[in-house]
Every structure is written in C-alpha cells, then in structure tokens.
C-alpha cells in the first residue's frame, strides 16, 4: 500500500492527533532529540510514564513458532498472527466464488473432434459488473468475467482450435486480450476490428475470438479497454494454460493468480492476495499429499505495483518461466514476477505439516498475500 500524499483531497483523511501547536507530530529528524529529552527530563517532575513497550513483544514471541488453523478473537488478541481483524472471513457463497475451488478449477471448455483430427474448444465468457467482498466487511465494485475474480482458468492443448464467445453484459465497453500467438483481429485491442464486431466490444454486444492455441505454456487473458489499468484493477483477468502436445507428468495442479485491490482508488492497492481473497489460504490451507508432485500455475496480474513475488517455506521448487520449456530454468524457493509475467512451479513436500507461502515483498504478505500448504500423508 503506497502511503498517500500528505495533503489530500479527502477531508478527514490525514488527521494527526489533535494537539495544539505546542506538540504537533514532530518531523522524524527530531525524534532522537525528542527521545533523549524525554528520557532526561521525566525526572524533573517525576514523570515516570516512559513506555514499557518491550514487555509485550517478548510475550508475542512465544507464539510465532506455532501454527494454528483457527484464529479465534481471543487468540488473535495476544498473538501476532497475520490476518484480518478477529480472524474474519469472506463468505464465498455471497461472493459466488471460493478461492479454494478456484485454485483447482480448470475449464477445458466444450470440445469437439474436427474432421482433420484437431480438437475445437469453446467457452462462453460474459463480462458482468458485480460487487464482491474482497476483505471481511469491505465491498468492491468489481468488473468480472463470468462473475468471478480471477476469471475462469481456460485450459487447452497446443494446436487446439479455440473459440471464445464473448458477451459484454457490463456497463462499460470491454475486450478480451489473450496472450499467445494469433492474428491482429483476435487480439482484443480497441481500434482493431470494430468494423467486423471485434476490437472494443460495446455494452450488450458480443464477439467470438477464434485462434489456434500456441505456444504451449502458461499465459493469461485480460480486458484491454482503456483506461487499461482500471479495467484490469477492477478484476477482468484470468489464467490461460496451453498444455504441450506431450503432456506434462501427472501432478496435483493448482492455479494462483496474484492480484490486489485498490479499494480507495488512489492508484495503489489496499489488499493483496492470490485468487482475490486476502489471507484465504491461511484459514483454508491448500491440502496436498506428502511426496506427490505439486504443480503451481502462477500468474501475476497485480496492477499498480511493479513487482510481485512468490516464496514457499521449508522447500524448493523447479521454475519454468512462462511454462514454454519443459526444462526448468531454476531451482529456488523465491521468484519475482512483473505484471503479466507468469511461470510454472513444480515441487514435492518431503514432510507433513503446514508450510507458509507468501509474497516475499513482505508488505504485500501482511496486506493479504499469504497462505498455507497443508501436507498430509
């Protein structure tokens, strides 16, 4: 979360503690002098109220090693666990989507075997405005494909013929821009193809994107209407997986779309997450089996911030940038992605237990982008 500029256009925003001029918030430079003065001077009038802040942090330290699934209010009060207030959750039923389901939801589309032996896959994507809860008690007026953020994970094989029927039922014009190799008309960019119904698709209009799947790897799709950052920040994006013709080894597969929400429209995010809901996987850990191959499709669509990152605790993974090669590029426990970058992670957990994963930009982690794997036998 970027710190907002000091004078702000919203009244009531930046209210320092209301003290008369004698004692306004001092500039940081003066802090040292101030503290010295405090320490030295309290004696004069016997002011013994200098803080005892150290005692509490020592107490908090007892808890940090332990791992708990339930964050009862009682518990949170004394512990320093990350999470929203009172261990609050977002109701997936009210939102209409559940990050736990999204992580394992791959949409292969409606398939049809063509005469030449190729497979044709078809999807319907509908842009709709929808208010969603992005943190407990915090509503966000999102724009979605099919009512969920992130949008459905579209999955196909290299060489498949893809047809995406797009209906814009939202209040603003939208497009679908796929990352991949395709003709200009299918690129979902305003100004290109409006004469045949493509380009910018007005409210109530529809268009079918049709192209061949390639290259294999992990890609993404998103709206490309202007202003671009607004259309992406509002929630119009999803993962797009093209499997190689020779399949990857079987694995427990998970999708993680790293995103965030600028709830106050100041051009920086208040909430960070994978698959939209901050801290969701802290409460609902992603359960995997010990020793099994886990494959994570990791996409960064985070708007406003320049980089995002992924770090897994107590383990290392093979990293396939963009998934376009079957040979891993790196064996590591932390990777960094810019906006639009993505990659495939493969790892096995040798031990049971709960293992954290989070952005190693720790600010993002503490603002929601944090979760657990739960490894069981």
């Amino acid at each position: 979360m970027r710190r907002p500029p000091v004078p702000t256009d919203r009244r009531g925003w930046r209210r320092n503690l209301g003290l008369p001029k004698l004692h306004g918030t001092p500039p940081l430079d003066h802090r040292l002098t101030r503290r010295k003065a405090l320490a030295g001077l309290a004696s004069l009038l016997g002011g013994g109220a200098v803080a005892v802040a150290g005692t509490r942090s020592a107490r908090g330290a007892e808890d940090t090693g332990a791992v708990h699934g339930e964050h009862s209010p009682e518990h949170m009060k004394s512990s320093m666990h990350a999470g929203f207030a009172n261990g609050g959750r977002v109701d997936p039923v009210a939102n209409g989507f559940d990050p736990s389901a999204i992580a394992r939801d791959f949409d292969w589309g409606r398939t049809r075997r063509l005469a030449n032996g190729r497979t044709r896959r078809e999807w319907n994507l509908v842009a709709v405005d929808k208010e969603i809860e992005v943190a407990p008690g915090v509503k966000f007026a999102a724009w979605t494909y099919n009512g969920r953020v992130p949008a459905p994970t579209l999955r196909c094989r290299e060489g498949d013929l893809l047809r995406v029927h797009f209906l814009n039922a939202g209040s603003h014009p939208h497009t679908i821009h796929f990352h991949g190799i395709h003709p200009a008309l299918m690129d979902g960019v305003p100004g290109i193809g409006e004469e045949v119904g493509g380009g910018l698709v007005a409210s109530g209009q529809q268009f079918t994107y049709e192209f061949e799947a390639g290259p294999f790897g992990l890609h993404l799709y998103h709206c490309h209407a202007t202003p671009l950052s607004a259309h992406i920040a509002k929630g119009l994006y999803g993962a797009f997986i093209i499997d190689p013709k020779d399949e990857r080894p079987p694995a427990h597969e998970l999708v993680m779309v790293m995103n965030g929400f600028d709830t106050n429209f100041d051009g920086s995010n208040e909430i960070y997450a994978v698959n939209t809901i901050g801290f969701h996987y802290l409460h609902e850990p992603l359960r995997v089996r010990r020793g099994e191959l886990v494959r994570i499709y990791l996409v960064n669509v985070l708007e406003f911030d320049q980089i995002n990152s992924f770090h897994v605790h107590a383990n290392f993974f093979h990293y396939y940038p963009t998934g376009t090669s079957l040979t891993p590029a790196e064996y590591t426990d932390t990777i960094v992605q810019g906006q639009g970058q993505r990659g495939i992670l493969e790892l096995r957990f040798p031990f049971t237990g709960r293992y954290m994963f989070h952005a190693h930009k720790t600010e993002f982690a503490e603002l929601g982008w944090m979760g657990f794997f739960e490894v069981v036998d």
Partner: protein, 397 residues
C-alpha cells in the same frame, strides 16, 4: 359584552402572546414531521457513494495496544472494516459496529508498537475508503491515577500559580511610580494580553482543525471568544452596579483581569496536560522555566490596576489563584479527556476573556489630553508584545 371592551388590552393579550409566538413553531414542527414521515417526497435518493469522514480525536498507546477514538464528521455512517498499521492488517475491535454522524467509537488495535518509532494507521471502511492517522512518535500514554493527578497539579502550580504570584511581587514597586509610568505599565499589560489573545487564537484554530469539523471546527474558537466576552461584560456590569459605593475600581479591574488570565491559563493547562499524556511534551527544565517567565508577566498585568490601592494579602493571593489556578484544572482535563474540539472552545473562551480585559484597561492608558496612543503607551504596548514574544521562544516544544 360591553364590559369586556372596557378591559385593558394587556390582560387579554398575555396568554395570546405566547400562543401566537409558538404557533409558527408548532406548524413548522408538524410540517417537518410530516415531511420526514413521507420520506422527503419528490427528492429521491442522494446521488453518489456515501461520504465517509472520520476524525481521530484521541490516541492512547498502551503496551501492545493502540486505542483510537474516532468521530464521524461526514453525513453518512462509517463502518471500519479493517485496520492496517504500517501496511499490515492487524486485529482490532470497535466499540461500535457503525459510527453514525457525530457519533464516536473506540477502536482498540492489538499491535506490538515500539517506543520512539512512527506509525501510520490506515482505517479501511466497508466501502474501501481509507482514513489515515499518523503517530509521529510512539510513547506510552500516561494513564490516570493519583500519580498523574499529582504530577499535573505540580505542573499547573509551576507554570500557573507560582509565576503569576511572583509577578505580583512588582506591586510595591508599582506603588512608587508616577502616573506617567503607570500608564506605560498599563500599556505594557495590554501588549501582553494582545499577544496572548493572538497566540491563543492561532493555537485554537490549529487545534480545531485537527479535530472533528462537523462539531464546528475553528469557528468554535471565535464562538467561545464571543461567549466569554459577552458573559464577562455582563458580570462586569453586575459587579459595578453592586459595589458602586465601594469605589474599588482598581480591585474590580484586577479581578476581571485575573478571571480573563485564569480562563486563558485553563486553555494553556489543557494543552500542556494533553501534550504530556500523549508523550508529545517533554517536561524539561527549560520548558518549565520558559512557561514560568512567560506567566510571570501575567502577574504584573493582574496587579497593575491596583498600584494605587492597598488590598489585603489574602485578596492578592486570591487574585493570584484565580489567574494561575485554572492551569491545574486544565492540565487535569487535558490528561483525562483530551478532545481538540473542547480544547479549541476553551482556548476561544480565554481569548474572549482577554479581549474583554483589554477593553477594560484601555481607558487607563489615556494621557492627560485623552489620547490612547502616545509615545509612552506605544512603548508599553510594543514592549509587552516583545516580552511575551521573547519568553515564548523558550517554550516552543
């Protein structure tokens, strides 16, 4: 019938006057009730999203905990859904689910803050808006209790009562001065008071701007000043009417000045107490000495009008307590229940009281030709302002 027409009109209009006067009020009340009951017909819903404004009025830091008292300034109720401290969501509880207009709530945030560090607290509302509050330097807030009570009494005595009484020690010297010198001293007193009035006004406006605006903001300083001026003027007329025969004009003036300065010191004590409670005030020797010097001149102002009379020692002591004592009261209020709004209003009352005193004193600086501004009064006025300016430099904390 004929007899009625002979009745004096006063008797029949007596009750009717009240009835006629209240009739419009009754009609207005009924119209408002009807309008509200019908849901403001024809106006429809307000356009646009809710306006969420929250003022943080008080910050209390305890080990492992930060407490904020917030007040809704805007027209719409505010729900604080989440709280982030230095860009990390934290656990908190709120005394109210929803803070209605002008209502207040206490947010208790669990956070292991570190002494001396700076914190930015971001309150995320249910609509996703943020209200940011900064803690410049985290220091544990002085809690209540006998110790703090005693400490504030001592502080009030140091910066209020003692300096004023010390200043009154100029009385014997004043008595030996000629009329011209007394006029200079009166002008000096007015200069001192003008400085205090300006200083307190600015301080009040600044304080008010940090608090809830819906409750009046900076206008409270001026409203307080008007209220105090009018009230003290009324008291003045009342007292004059009662002791016209006594002829103690000097003592009367001194009492008015004491009240005015006392009200000023109430606001000053409030500011000092609040600053101490929140750790923004270092109780340094320099601070106390500066305040003492500053306020010593107030003692001079109290005794200047009684240079020609001979009041008893008890009377003098009473004057000193009236002028300096409220500093203690202010310090207590400041540590117990600091609110920028209340502080601003009290500072405004002090300003009004001081201006009233200036108006009272003004005739005493006239020279034999009846002119207010002459070389000697000018020297006194500027000198008074200069003295407080210089001693004020010592207490810039």
């Amino acid at each position: 019938m004929a007899g009625r027409s002979t009745e004096p009109p006063e008797k029949t209009t007596g009750p009717n006057l009240w009835l006629l006067g209240s009739l419009p009020l009754v009609v207005i009340g009924a119209a408002v009730a009807l309008f509200a009951a019908l849901g403001a017909p024809g106006l429809g819903e307000r356009r646009g999203p809710p306006v969420e404004e929250l003022a943080v009025e008080r910050t209390v830091l305890r080990p492992g905990e930060i407490e904020l008292r917030v007040r809704t300034d805007g027209p719409d109720p505010v729900r604080v859904a989440q709280v982030a401290v230095n860009d990390a969501y934290v656990d908190f509880r709120s005394s109210e689910q929803e803070v209605r207009r002008l209502g207040s709530a206490t947010l208790t945030i669990a956070y292991p803050w570190i002494e001396g560090e700076a914190y930015e607290i971001s309150l995320l509302t249910s609509t996703g808006a943020t209200i940011v509050h900064e803690i410049g330097v985290a220091v544990e807030t002085a809690g209540g209790g006998a110790h703090l009570f005693g400490l504030m009494a001592l502080l009030g005595t140091y910066v209020g009562i003692l300096p004023v009484m010390l200043g009154m020690l100029w009385l014997p010297w004043l008595r030996r001065l000629g009329d011209g010198a007394v006029r200079v001293l009166m002008a000096l007193t007015i200069g001192l008071l003008l400085f205090l009035a300006i200083d307190a006004t600015l301080e009040g406006v600044e304080t008010a701007n940090e608090g809830s605006q819906a409750l009046g903001g900076a206008s409270l300083v001026f409203l307080g000043a008007i209220v105090a001026y009018v009230a003290i003027s009324a008291v003045d007329v009342f007292l004059r009417a009662r002791r016209r025969q006594a002829g103690a004009e000097g003592l009367h003036l001194a009492l008015l000045i004491s009240i005015g300065i006392g009200l000023h010191n109430l606001g000053e004590g409030l500011a000092v107490g609040a600053a101490y409670a929140t750790g923004a005030l270092a109780l340094g020797a320099l601070l106390v000495v500066g305040f003492a010097l500053h306020n010593t001149t107030e003692g001079l102002a109290v005794v200047a009008p009684i240079a020609r009379s001979r009041p008893s020692l008890a009377r003098l002591a009473t004057l000193g307590v009236i002028a300096g004592g409220p500093a203690i009261l202010g310090a207590w209020i400041g540590t117990a229940a600091f609110s920028p709004t209340v502080t601003a209003f009290l500072l405004g009352i002090g300003v009004g009281a001081i201006i009233q005193v200036v108006v009272q004193l003004a005739p005493l600086i006239r020279n034999p030709e009846g002119r207010y501004l002459h070389p000697w009064s000018a020297i006194g006025l500027v000198g008074g302002i200069a003295i407080l300016y210089v001693t004020g430099l010592l207490i810039s904390f």
